[in-house]
Subunit: 218 residues, 2 copies
Amino acid sequence: MQIAVLGTGEVGRRLASRFVEVGHEVVLGSRTSDNAAAHAWAGENNAAHGTFADAAVFGEVIVNATGGLVTKAVLEAAGAENLAGKVVVDVSNALDFSKGFPPDAVTFDGLGVAETIQRDFPQTRVVKTLNTMNNQVMARPDLVPGDHVVFLSGEDADAKAVTAGLLRDMGWRDPQIMDLGGISTSRATEQFVILWVHMNGGIGDGSVMWNIAVQRAS
Amino acid sequence: MQIAVLGTGEVGRRLASRFVEVGHEVVLGSRTSDNAAAHAWAGENNAAHGTFADAAVFGEVIVNATGGLVTKAVLEAAGAENLAGKVVVDVSNALDFSKGFPPDAVTFDGLGVAETIQRDFPQTRVVKTLNTMNNQVMARPDLVPGDHVVFLSGEDADAKAVTAGLLRDMGWRDPQIMDLGGISTSRATEQFVILWVHMNGGIGDGSVMWNIAVQRAS
């Protein structure tokens, strides 16, 4: 599958590398075509990079790995016409560190990032996923034992099926994938990230790979 | 130990019964001394009930099991002078269903319920706990297998130790008890409850006993 990964930070590069590793074609998108991190990544991974628009034109699926605070500007740069009809897999969080630690999980007129993407780019089919864990676990769920969980939120069943397929390609198993419902449920996952930050502090120094799981009565 | 449980809803009655069951003396507090639910509970459990103030005078530990939207009024009725110096175990959430489902997790000038208790009743020692699961699991953690988790948030180490002792009395084991840090961390647990609601919808019809757990790399 042809995948555009928007964002050259740790999350974007991690996912882009993993998608290449499992056999997908990836273009890593950034603001400018001469982005040094993207260039280095493309060389190391024998893959391509380009502007957000270049990547969006290429991608059958668009993965938003930019910070949620800049996502709207990024998708405008990618071009609504290049996103129309496509699955947008949003893995972002909108964390505001301007008041120090812990950050705030920002909302926009009360909506989360994925909700605003779906509202502002109504021809896309947005699926929120993977934003409730660190990026290593996103890409390699086998780093953590057991049936730890990844959420899906979105309005379009086909888009969720495509997204679940990409999760499976990275090693996620069906019992781990929990469909929460419509795109509005993604806001709760974005707000969860502050609890994640506190839990991460309690669990270790940030180097411990972990995720939440559901324990239920048998 | 002498425990005041404030609130005669399902959460308050469940915890009050469990505290009696494991050997504590309990007064169940409500707005009026002739509350029918409290009277029935006291008869069934061979325990006492009274006004919020009656309960607060009695309790060495005060458990706030009222809805977070009314907690401030309840604690004012209990009387700041009756709460001073005591451990307040806050298990509440401030859920606003006025716009339908899912509810909003309300904040007060940006603060959560437990934070506002600590701010408005500065002579209390507030510990937030148990608010991230259903009330059956709060009182009987053995309903769910494995090392599912309960959080502690608060400023006072001794108050946390007292609270952890009450958790142990109900069956919680030390590996399950995660201290998140200061009282501000409780806000993240209150915001988590919306994700909990969505997860609960995905897990079953509300009758499935479950809780979150932490899975970590060995």
